[in-house]
């Protein structure tokens, strides 16, 4: 993951730059850039979650809440109070940071399934607040007519411009996370994941590192929420419900929890599966979706990021290799 990431990042950037043009030429791909915008927005959250889950070894079933906090901060700030969208984005991120600190400090003392339930509970509580505080959030019908973003006087209101904008942010965040994971903090995260006792013995302050990872992922989710509302111009509570939290976890597991590449791959895979590829099955869609997930878990327990090694194993030995 170390050296490759820089070269890989360049290839990814080039591929993304060419993508919308490619999609225009190849028949049937016309709606792909549109879908890729959402995939990019979800990638922001999954990269944060990947740091939290794959590297720091914690779990969260409540990240939809942070997505929602960012989304509603931007929505309410711009649509109701006519504030500057960038200011709202930062306010939302700050709010998420504070909430993540307040929730993270007591919650991350919990372990395993207890942590999963506590974050799940947090997520549901925030959802109910979004749903019930009708005067602020618009209730279940949500808030609509949220203005778009503009950057240096340029309006980001077309699919193309927003595609490039979102994926530039994704690449920047990728670069930031990759560097972070190579730094001292990143090594500490991995030590916490490996063995908390050993990490503690080496003088790593484990609880503060867990909270750091949690706060980072919360802020990224909030950022994603802000970018989401400024594109779709709408937000309602069920966009950030419990199932979205679970979907985010599905994304990182399908992509591979131990790699930032996996986070992006998982987000892209799940976004396309549930928005494009399985549409042809109509009523059977849910069933096929479940089956596809199951098949990936069974055959690629390391997620899509583990695929290259799998292929090497198959090519080398003519039968599935044991990559552990």
């Amino acid at each position: 993951m170390k050296k490759i990431s820089r070269k890989g990042l360049l290839i990814l950037a080039a591929g993304l730059a060419a993508f919308p043009w490619l999609a225009k030429v190849v028949p049937g791909l016309g709606s792909y850039p549109e879908v890729m915008i959402y995939a990019g927005i979800y990638s922001l959250i999954t990269m944060g979650l990947s740091v939290l889950v794959g590297f720091a070894g914690q779990i969260s079933l409540g990240h939809a809440a942070f997505f929602g906090i960012g989304a509603y901060a931007s929505a309410v700030g711009t649509a109701t109070y006519n504030l500057d969208p960038w200011l709202c984005l930062i306010l939302g991120a700050l709010l998420s940071l504070l909430v993540a600190l307040a929730i993270g400090v007591p919650t991350l003392k919990l372990k395993g399934h207890y942590l999963a339930m506590a974050t799940l509970a947090f997520g549901i509580i925030v959802f109910i607040i979004f749903n019930e505080e009708v005067d602020i959030t618009g209730g279940p019908d949500g808030l609509s007519r949220i203005p778009g973003l503009s950057l240096f006087g340029l309006k980001l209101n077309t699919t193309m411009s927003y595609f490039y904008f979102v994926w530039t942010v994704v690449l920047l965040v990728f670069w930031f996370c990759a560097n972070l994971l190579e730094s001292r903090i990143g090594r500490a995260f991995r030590a916490v994941h490996g063995s908390e006792v050993a990490a503690m013995a080496m003088g790593i302050n484990i609880s503060s590192h867990k909270v750091q990872a949690f706060v980072l992922s919360a802020v990224l989710a909030s950022l994603a929420g802000s970018l989401y509302v400024h594109y779709i111009n709408f937000i309602n509570p069920s966009t950030c419900n419990l199932f979205f939290s679970v979907k985010l976890i599905i994304m990182i597991v399908m992509g591979g929890t131990h790699s930032l590449w996996g986070a992006i791959l998982g987000a892209v895979l799940i976004t396309f599966l549930s928005n494009v590829w399985l549409h042809a099955f109509q009523e059977w869609e849910v069933l096929i979706y479940g089956a596809v997930l199951l098949i990936i878990v069974i055959f690629l327990p390391d997620g899509l990021a583990g695929l290259p090694e799998k292929i090497k194993g198959w090519a080398g030995r003519g039968q599935p290799g044991k990559a552990s």
């Binding site: 709606s31 549109e34 279940p140 019908d141 949500g142 779709i232 709408f234 309602n236 928005n275 055959f299």
Partner: protein
């Protein structure tokens, strides 16, 4: 059987599937049809609404094409399921408008999602006929006028509330309790109930305002509290099985005050499921649900009767209010297409000029100031009597 056998089975599934998708390429179409789009919440929280809407639209398209299409041109409706999800809904509507290049879009089923896609219709200049109730869908609050390209078929919630309150006034009911589900349907109903009861001359006082989750399995706590406050009537506003749970719980608690349900109750299946607890329940319903008991001279008698017969024969299930909204949406579009031809802007104008169009939920009279076109008469108060609907007195 070991883990390996299980893995092989799955591998077999994958291979069969890939083979099939290779063998079954899409079939070519003959004539260039008129293309309409539809987005309904066929699955997810709104499936009670979207499922009958989709079935209705597909059934009607089949019927139109088998009787020669529109002015001799076949009709094609591309239906997407938004799974009651905002992202999916926006993607689907955008795809219909920019990729599939449809002439008009019918749906979405839910108010929130309709509000979400209104700007898309305005920006792409494509007529959108929503099947959701909120008045905000067709009212730009900044200008006080309807959005140019957006229409809707269902009666606004305020019409249902007014119908219920008018009936209460007749019966001398003043103190009421309301209970609503915490989803879009329930809360937009609640908003109107509270708003209209708060008007000066309403004569209605809400003494209990209870809520519950749309998937709750027991409402005894809410109803116990209501019973303790002793209202003269109860209004429940939700969709799905929880309406039936409310009735059963109320009966168990020995609550004998008049019980009103929203138009979401308009499905005979609910009466059966309530197992006797629905007797005497009062519901504001459009003509669509009650075709059999309409007087013979009712303007909608023929239209609703024909639809009900077709739907029941084809799907072998009772009719609900929501399929009728789908019918109205599609047939309004078809009606406009007939006169305007395949031109979006002309279709929009034709929709706005729709007059005396006899639909499932009323007689539509659109105008530049009204993109819904229904009047309070489109609801009748109906009572459950002997396990069937009857006109309430």
């Amino acid at each position: 059987m070991t883990g390996r056998t299980g893995r092989r089975l799955w591998l077999g599934c994958v291979l069969t599937f890939l083979a099939l998708s290779w063998v079954l390429p899409s079939l070519a179409l003959a004539a260039e049809p008129y293309k309409l789009g539809a987005v309904f919440s066929v699955t997810g929280n709104g499936s009670m609404l979207g499922d009958p809407e989709k079935k209705t639209v597909e059934m009607m398209v089949e019927k139109i094409n088998s009787s020669g299409g529109i002015n001799g041109v076949p009709l094609k409706v591309i239906v997407y399921d938004d799974e009651s999800d905002a992202t999916k809904c926006a993607l689907a509507v955008k795809k219909l408008m920019t990729e599939d290049k449809v002439l008009a879009v019918i749906g979405p089923s839910l108010s929130g999602l309709s509000l979400a896609v209104v700007p898309l219709a305005e920006a792409n200049e494509i007529p959108l006929i929503s099947c959701a109730a909120s008045y905000k869908i067709v009212l730009d609050e900044k200008t006080g006028k309807p959005y140019k390209w957006v229409f809707k078929t269902p009666q606004s919630d305020s019409l249902a509330v007014e119908a219920i309150f008018a009936h209460m006034k007749k019966k001398g009911i003043k103190k009421i309790a309301i209970m609503t589900a915490t989803d879009g349907f329930g809360q937009s109903g609640r908003q109107e109930l509270v708003r209209i009861a708060g008007l000066k001359d309403s004569g209605i006082e809400i003494v209990a305002d209870e809520k519950y989750g749309p998937k709750d399995t027991d409402l005894t706590a809410q109803l116990t509290k209501i019973k303790g406050l002793n209202p003269q009537a109860i209004i429940n506003w939700s969709i799905g099985p929880v309406q039936v749970v409310a009735l059963r719980n109320a009966k168990d608690l020995g609550i004998k005050t008049p019980f009103y349900q929203s138009h979401g109750f308009g499905n005979r299946n609910n009466i059966q499921l309530a197992a006797g607890a629905a007797e005497g329940v009062l519901v504001p319903l459009g003509a669509c649900n009650i075709d059999e008991i309409l007087p013979a001279n009712h303007p909608q008698k023929a239209v609703t009767g024909e639809y009900a017969k077709m739907y029941k024969a084809k799907f072998n299930e009772p009719l609900s209010s929501f399929g009728g909204h789908g019918w109205d949406g599609l047939m309004l579009a078809v009606n406009a297409l007939k006169t305007a031809g395949p031109d979006r802007s002309k279709i929009r104008d034709a929709l706005e000029q729709t007059k005396n169009f006899v639909g499932q939920h009323g007689v539509f009279n659109m105008s530049p100031a009204d993109h819904n076109g229904l009047t309070p008469e489109s609801f009748s108060m109906v009572v459950v009597k002997g396990n069937d609907w009857a006109m309430a007195d």
